[in-house]
């Protein structure tokens, strides 16, 4: 089946290629008996998987084609198809590749060239070799570029270096430091190498008999060892990081997993020892926390009766009795070592009695007593989310404001070591003046980031949202609930979630209709974008029309719903027709040639082209008597509709196959001369120019599978 499939594909392609001026079907249709016999022989031997007979048929066809050319007749254009067809019959991977390379050497027509290229590129071993070559290139280029970049060329700083060699020293230190870091990381496993390993393995499993098998096996061993080492290092690091953060459960998972990996047990041993110690300590701490201290304070003398009453009152939980017992104890035995417990009971009594603020006050007083366990416990209780939901919300908002300020002042990422080092050297060599210059130059960046922050919140609002939602879930009737709704409206709006923002805004006692309309518009736009992402999902479009009828988005949604009314359409634009003239002919759409002659007066097809749907052909036509367009719908009989539709789909597919998929950023000779110069205006206003080796982008379709 594996071999039959490409044969059938090739057969299909050979049967449908009228654009190339010659095609098996066309030839047969023209009752060219001679051609028909040759094609029949070829197809029959191909379907019978008789490689020798097929090769002979191709040779015969080629000779006949040559003879036609010699006789001044046009070429049939069938030889490329025939060679592509027989390449699929080659018994081994190596023979198939050789046949395809031979075919490409004959400069076949574009469709066959693309198909042959695709077959060669789809070879896993070949793709893996290319990936590794690109990977090697990029590692070297990155090393060189990062070393050269700090030194620069034609920079005013470079000229100043003659006067102040310390500036050059800063650049040199930067270059050396960067190079050292890059060398340290040079041999890290890359996504390309991961993909290459998978592709080599696949190739070896598929074609173990290939001549390249020994080389592929060597590559698999090398990459496999590297991958195992990387996996070990990453797993141990994940475990050690979790361990350092006190997350013992995750540390246990990663480190035990690492210890079971090949040749990783030794690397995991040390952190595993640390983990065992930490787990033992945690277990001991947990156990100790379930017991009273060794010598708990005991009621003495007169305290005993009041303490017994207090303990019973605490267990019974009646606020009145509890308050009386606790206050009696505090008043009568204020200096007792049991007094902190009684004051804790006072706080409890107040809270149970509905006096939450007073309870908080009592706890806060008690929390000042750091010497007693109850004082420390009260402090911890006040800091817990149960007692500080609003404070947590405040803290989340403060943190958000700090994050935004940090972004505006310092940019998106953390200051990297290289910039810090270079800045430090500059400051050291040029003193305060350099710092000032640096600061002034950064004003532009700050202003830009501030502008960006105004439109798109650069910091996460999730902590505000989580804490606000938790507050409302727990205390929906709180007097602070309205304020929290308002704060959540802002947070959700900043986070780009207008639906939730609207929900919370409408929960306010007196929402402003203008703000409601504004949020509804934002919600409509957001849903419209969502619908677009899902191919103009009619369910989303209908929801916009139904629920947000007054918004601008609703109008757009209505239009799109009307437009999408018809289904199963095949649209052939004028551009496609111009590129594939055969499609307009009798074997395709059978259009009047006048529609494509560029003369509006006799009728001209507009850019919208032809749409095939519901047994009819809709033509977008330019108006003959002035600007504008109109639609002309022509009913087709079943056979004509089927023929037109099949031809249109074939033309669209061919166009897709032969489209140029190479990156527009990749130069024609870039693989051989991969150098570039990059220039920029530096902070001091001068031209800063440096050379570099151009990197090869990682463009694998499945790139994310190897990250």
């Amino acid at each position: 089946m594996g071999r039959l499939f490409p044969v059938l594909c090739a057969l299909g392609l050979a049967l449908a290629g009228p654009a190339r001026g010659g095609d098996l079907v066309d030839e047969v249709a023209r009752a060219d008996t001679e051609a028909e016999e040759r094609v029949h022989t070829l197809l029959a031997s191909t379907l019978a998987e008789d490689h020798e007979a097929a090769a002979a048929a191709v040779a015969d066809l080629a000779a006949w084609d040559d003879a036609r050319r010699d006789a001044g007749r046009p070429s049939t254009g069938l030889v490329d198809d025939a060679r592509y067809l027989t390449a699929a019959l080659a018994p081994t991977r190596d023979a198939q590749r050789a046949a395809l390379e031979d075919l490409l050497a004959t400069h076949p027509d574009p469709l066959i060239r693309h198909l042959a290229d695709h077959q060669l590129a789809a070879d896993d071993a070949d793709a893996a070799s290319r990936l590794l070559a690109d990977d090697r290139h990029n590692r070297r280029a990155s090393l060189l570029n990062d070393a050269v970049r700090p030194l620069g060329l034609f920079s005013p700083t470079a000229f100043l270096a003659a006067l102040n060699p310390l500036v050059l020293a800063g650049s040199a230190v930067d270059s050396l430091a960067t190079t050292a870091v890059n060398l340290w990381n040079y041999d890290q496993l890359s996504p390309r190498e991961r993909e290459a390993l998978v592709r080599y393995r696949t190739e070896l499993e598929r074609t173990p008999e290939t001549d390249d098998a020994p080389a592929i096996a060597r590559a698999i061993r090398r990459l496999g060892g590297k991958r195992a080492a990387a996996l070990c290092a990453a797993t141990v690091e994940a475990g050690a990081t979790a361990l350092d953060a006190g997350d013992l459960d995750h540390a246990r998972f990663y480190l035990r997993d690492a210890s079971r990996l090949d040749e990783c047990e030794g690397k995991a041993a040390k952190p595993l020892d640390r983990l065992s110690t930490a787990l033992a300590r945690r277990a001991a701490r947990e156990e100790a926390g379930r017991w009273p201290v060794d010598d708990p304070p005991l009621p003495r003398g007169e305290e005993a009766e009041d303490y017994a009453a207090l303990v019973v009152a605490v267990a019974a939980g009646d606020p009145g009795t509890l308050s009386a017992a606790a206050n009696r104890f505090v008043t009568a035995h204020g200096d007792s070592s049991l007094a902190p417990g009684a004051r804790y009971a006072v706080a409890l009594a107040r809270d149970l009695g509905g006096h939450h603020a007073d309870a908080r006050e009592a706890l806060a007083d008690l929390a000042h007593d750091h010497d007693s366990a109850i004082g420390r416990h009260a402090g911890a209780l006040l800091a817990s989310s149960e007692w500080s939901r609003l404070a947590d919300l405040d803290a989340a908002e403060r943190q958000h404001a700090r994050d935004v300020a940090r972004y505006v002042l310092f940019g998106g990422g953390l200051l990297d070591g290289r910039s810090a080092l270079y800045g430090a050297v500059q400051l050291g060599t040029q003193g305060v003046q350099a710092a000032q210059t640096l600061g002034l130059a950064n004003v532009l960046g700050i202003a830009t980031r501030a502008w960006h922050a105004w439109w798109h919140d650069p910091a996460s609002n999730q902590a505000i949202i989580d804490r606000g939602e938790q507050f409302l879930a727990r205390e929906p009737q709180s007097p602070d609930a309205a304020a929290v709704h308002a704060r959540l409206t802002d947070a959700y709006e900043r986070a780009g979630n207008p639906a939730r923002a609207l929900l919370h805004y409408q929960a306010l006692p007196d929402p402003d209709p203008k703000r409601v309309a504004q949020l509804e518009n934002e919600l409509g736009d957001s849903l419209l974008a969502d619908a677009e992402k899902h191919g103009n999902d009619p369910a989303i479009l209908r929801a916009i029309v139904r629920n947000l009828g007054d918004t601008k988005a609703a109008g757009t949604a209505r239009q799109r719903l009307e437009k999408a009314g018809a289904t199963g359409e095949v649209v052939v634009s004028r551009e496609v027709l111009a590129a594939t003239p055969w499609l307009a002919g009798p074997s395709g759409l059978d259009l009047d040639p006048a529609l494509l002659d560029g003369d509006r007066r006799n009728g001209e097809l507009a850019d919208g082209g032809v749409t095939l749907a519901d047994g009819a052909m809709r033509l977008a036509l330019e108006n003959t008597d002035g600007p504008g367009q109109h639609i002309d719908t022509r009913a087709l009989d079943a056979a004509a509709y089927a023929r037109a539709r099949a031809a249109a789909e074939e033309a669209l597919y061919t166009r897709l196959v032969t489209a140029d998929h190479s990156s527009p950023d990749t130069g024609r000779f870039e693989r051989y001369i991969p150098f570039f110069f990059q220039g920029q205006i530096d902070d001091s206003g001068g031209l800063y120019l440096y050379p570099g080796v151009k990197m090869r982008p990682y463009e694998s379709e499945d790139g994310r599978l190897y990250e």
Partner: protein, 300 residues
């Protein structure tokens, strides 16, 4: 003089960069306690918590407070047997009751009721209540086959329904609602697990999960119930692929409709701010979306 503004700016910058996360994270160490009142007060503070609508209370270090209290009371009783025994036993009964151990709670209440203690009368009430709860909890939930199991669950639900009716509006109603919700969850899970053996099993399973979601819309477990419905939809989508694995039998629209139903449910939870199930919803959404994409690519 020029250095001072710069130094101030640098200091402000450093402070901004190194500002602490937020003060609310500070908690006391999990340490031995000095006074039994600390243990009892924390329990009393949370005796009226609605553990049906909200998660059970936790101490500042994140331990389940009822469970911790039970452990601490047990260790007190081991360390000081006989000291304040009526109080510790009564509190132990309360903690056991909140942990769903009604028979143990009834027993502890009865012990206090038999003591010469100011808590004896309350303990008698508690014993009667816990006995009612224990009677419902003791009913069987299992059976030799699906129908018998469903019948057992139904009988037990009816018993709990009477308990809910009896204790409606009291601080004990949420305890019974928790039990009812758990049993209805069990019933739905049984139907889902055996839907191939039940007439119109897929629709019945969907109905049972939807019923759970609608009936327990106030529950803290609502998001978890939605995830279970999403899981069912995901299973149905997987079954569709298994039953239509041949390329010509596979219909992209049919599959997409089934898969999207699951994704919509996962997404509900994935975007549910403040819900503890949100990360699970996000993970499930990503995992199922990846599977859907892979299936569509396979049949492209």
């Amino acid at each position: 003089m020029r250095r001072r503004p710069l130094a101030t700016a640098a200091l402000v910058g450093v402070l901004l960069a190194a500002a602490p996360g937020h003060a609310g994270d500070a908690t006391g160490a999990f340490a031995p306690y000095e006074d039994l009142i600390e243990v009892l007060a924390d329990l009393t503070w949370h005796l009226k918590d609605d553990i049906y609508r909200f998660p059970p209370p936790r101490d500042p270090t994140g331990h389940d407070l009822y469970h911790l209290t039970l452990d601490r009371l047990g260790s007190w009783e081991k360390r000081f047997p006989g000291r304040l025994r009526d109080v510790t036993t009564f509190a132990r009964a309360e903690a056991l009751e909140r942990l769903g151990e009604y028979a143990g709670a009834a027993d502890a209440y009865r012990q206090v009721a038999a003591m010469a203690s100011p808590l004896a009368e309350r303990a008698r009430d508690g014993a009667a209540r816990a006995t009612d709860f224990a009677a419902a909890a003791a009913l069987p939930e299992d059976g030799p086959d699906v129908q018998a199991r469903l019948a057992a669950l139904k009988a037990k639900l009816e018993a709990w329904s009477k308990v809910i009716e009896r204790f409606g509006g009291t601080p004990y109603e949420p305890l019974a609602l928790v039990e009812e919700e758990r049993l209805e969850e069990e019933t739905a899970a049984t139907i889902v697990a055996h839907r191939h053996l039940i007439d119109d099993g897929d629709a019945t399973a969907e109905r049972s999960l939807r019923f759970l979601i609608e009936k327990h819309a106030e529950s803290k477990n609502l998001a978890a119930h939605i995830l279970r419905l999403a899981d069912l939809y995901a299973d149905l989508a997987r079954e569709y692929v298994a039953q239509h694995h041949r390329p010509l039998a596979f219909d992209e629209d049919d599959f997409r409709q089934r898969a999207d139903r699951a994704l919509e449910m996962y997404r509900k939870v994935a975007t549910w701010d403040g819900s503890p199930e949100k990360p699970e919803g996000q993970g499930q959404f990503s995992a199922f979306d990846a599977w859907k994409t892979a299936v569509l690519a396979r049949y492209r």
